[in-house]
């Protein structure tokens, strides 16, 4: 005995949208049911296909089985019983009994009324009887009723009584009429019943389909929720590790600073006390040690700054970027004057952020521009535009998520040396320097800090550049709506 997938196919034409209802039944009584179903199928013109296991099954239908199995089997059995009851095959007795009784009743009534009414009118009574029977019961019973009615009518009512002598035209006419009526009525009745049954079945099918879909949805929702949960965990994990890294960098740098300081202290002493008193080589060595010490100091400071950016928990406040630029320019006053740089600033907006870090941001950009200038006087232009996150920008920045919010897009353009455009992503990496260290002193952390600051503020940072063509640094910052601003 094999398990299999049974497909019950709804009757096309009767049910306009024919849907396939897959019912997977795993039971040992399959064979008996199958026999019964095939019987029903042939009588009712249903299509029952047997498909071996291994075809399309889904988790949902798997689970549904247990539940629906009972129900479907039950309904099919009921259905089958219903169908069978309405047709020849196993013949229930009741309708025929009723047919006979009604005919007898009509006859009795007719006989009782004979003295008062004409005999011809009694055929109507029998007609009534036939109609009643054919309304309630099917073809067989109504046919029997017709025959009996005509016979009774002829036998009991039409004179001569109790004979079947006059069976001519009037009887024939009556007979034909009754027959037609009976056939029509019972046909109609049968049709109606059939439709009702099919409707019922269709409802059951639909309910089942809905249940299946519902189950599917529930499973989907559960799996989504699970995925979301996992995502949240992953994000938390990442944030934790990020913080841990930042903290580690902070602590390591901090601890590194101490011996470095002592080193500097002693090299200072050496320089002051013994410069020129030892031989030339000693002086040279001392100078190298000094330089390295200074470089180390700057690097550690840079790493610390970078770690501080991300580890900072200062809350965001409204910051007017114009003020940030002014303060950055003030901090770089000397350098700006020395380089003769001309810095023009457009009207910049107010954003939500960390005031100190935003000053640092502009300061780093400007310091860079000053450092990497050419012989001609340096010109820097800082401008701002409102922009909505676009697909092009998303593609450029290599991000997948859609940018629903509007952004402030700030650009800092200079006419300095620029650099090779293949380094555009590298410049923001820590310690990566794209100009040789001999020519341009620096630790390569400034732009990494800029990146960290911009990202902390929820924006993106990138650069357009060309060798000897100057660079334009861009960064975005989410636009704060007025309601959010006033809530600050």
């Amino acid at each position: 005995m094999t398990n299999g997938v049974y497909i019950h196919r709804s009757l096309e034409g009767v049910l306009p949208d024919a849907n396939l209802l897959h019912v997977k039944v795993r039971t040992k009584e399959i064979l008996e049911k199958e026999l019964q179903r095939r019987e029903i199928a042939s009588k009712y013109d249903l299509d029952l296909e047997f498909q071996p296991e291994g075809t399309v099954t889904t988790a949902q239908t798997d689970r549904l089985n247990a539940r629906e199995e009972g129900r479907c089997k039950q309904s099919l059995m009921n259905h089958g019983a219903d169908i069978l009851r309405n047709f020849a095959g196993i013949k229930p007795i009741l309708p025929y009994v009723v047919a006979v009784s009604i005919t007898i009743l009509c006859t009795l009534v007719g006989m009782a009324m004979t003295p008062f009414v004409d005999e011809e009118n009694f055929c109507m009574l029998y007609l009534l009887g036939v109609v009643l029977v054919s309304c309630r019961y099917g073809l067989g019973a109504s046919l029997l009723a017709v025959l009996l009615s005509v016979a009774s009518y002829d036998f009991f009512v039409v004179s001569p009584h109790f004979t079947l002598a006059r069976s001519e035209t009037p009887c024939l006419l009556t007979f034909i009429t009754m027959l037609v009526v009976a056939l029509t009525m019972s046909g109609l009745t049968a049709r109606v019943k059939q439709h009702a049954k099919q409707l019922d079945m269709r409802v059951k099918e639909r309910t089942y389909e809905l249940a299946v879909a519902n189950e599917a949805l529930k499973v989907e929702v559960a799996s989504r929720a699970q995925a979301e949960e996992r995502l949240k965990e992953a994000v938390e994990e990442l944030a934790r590790s990020n913080t841990a890294l930042a903290q580690f960098a902070k602590i390591a740098s901090h601890d590194l600073q101490e011996p470095l300081r002592s080193l500097r202290g002693f090299t200072d002493l050496l320089t002051r006390r013994y410069a020129g008193k030892l031989d030339e080589k000693a002086d040279e060595f001392i100078e190298h040690i000094n330089d390295c010490g200074k470089r180390m100091e700057r690097i550690i400071e840079g790493v610390l700054s970078h770690a501080r950016v991300q580890g900072s928990d200062r809350p965001f406040v409204n910051v007017n970027l114009n003020d940030s630029v002014k303060e950055a320019m003030k901090n770089l006053e000397v350098a700006i004057k020395e380089s003769g740089a001309n810095i023009s600033v457009d009207e910049l907006p107010t954003v939500k952020g960390d005031a100190l870090q935003l000053v640092q941001l502009f300061q780093n950009f400007l310091a860079n521009a000053i450092k990497f200038r050419r012989e001609e006087p340096l010109r820097v232009k800082i401008s701002c535009a409102e922009s909505v996150g676009s697909d092009e920008m998303a593609a450029y920045l290599d991000v997948d998520d859609d940018l629903p919010r509007a952004f402030w897009h700030v650009s800092i353009r200079d006419n300095g040396t620029g650099f090779e455009s293949r380094h555009t992503k590298d410049v923001f990496t820590m310690f990566k320097r794209v100009h040789s260290g001999q020519v341009y002193a620096g630790t390569g952390i400034g732009l990494a800090i800029c990146k960290a600051i911009v990202e902390r503020h929820g924006g993106n940072i990138w650069v357009d550049t060309m060798r000897n063509g100057g660079s334009t640094f861009h960064f975005t910052m989410p636009i704060v709506t007025d309601s959010e601003k006033s809530a600050a």
């Binding site: 600073q257 101490e258 011996p259 300081r261 002592s262 500097r264 202290g265 002693f266 200072d268 002493l269 002051r272």
Partner: protein, 135 residues
């Protein structure tokens, strides 16, 4: 010739002690330098407990912040309100860039702070200023 300034240096790192010593030499100021290596010893020195029973209250205290067991803040807490310490200038020696640390120290009663590594000229000027103002 000015009298000798009694300086108490509270510093745990030997390298920093050495640097401070040299800085004092560079400063060209006449100093009697007393050194203790941790907070507890500092407290005992300033309260004239054993083994510092005979220690005189210093003219100036150079106090390091980051020390094991008992750090600079704790020392300040302990001794600042003592009678003999109320008027003694305390100078914080710190490597810390943290504003919070310095602010906290100010709240606890320091008079000045110097960045480490301590350097001769700066220290010299400070010592002279303190000398002329406090004594």
């Amino acid at each position: 010739m000015s009298r000798f300034i009694e300086v108490l240096l509270v510093e745990d790192s030997p390298a920093d002690v050495r640097i401070a010593e040299e800085a004092i030499v560079d400063a060209g100021v006449n100093v009697n330098l007393h050194v203790v290596n941790d907070g507890e010893a500092a407290v005992r020195y300033l309260t004239q407990q054993a083994p510092y029973d005979n220690a005189a209250t210093p003219d100036i205290v150079l106090l390091d912040l980051n020390m094991p067991k008992m750090n600079g803040h704790d020392v300040l807490d302990e001794i600042r309100n003592q009678n003999n310490m109320k008027e003694v200038p305390i100078v914080l020696l710190t490597a810390s860039e943290s504003c919070d640390d310095v602010e906290k120290a100010h709240n606890l009663g320091i008079n000045y702070y110097l960045r480490k590594p301590v350097q001769g000229p700066g220290l010299g000027q400070l010592l002279n200023a303190v000398q002329s103002l406090w004594h």
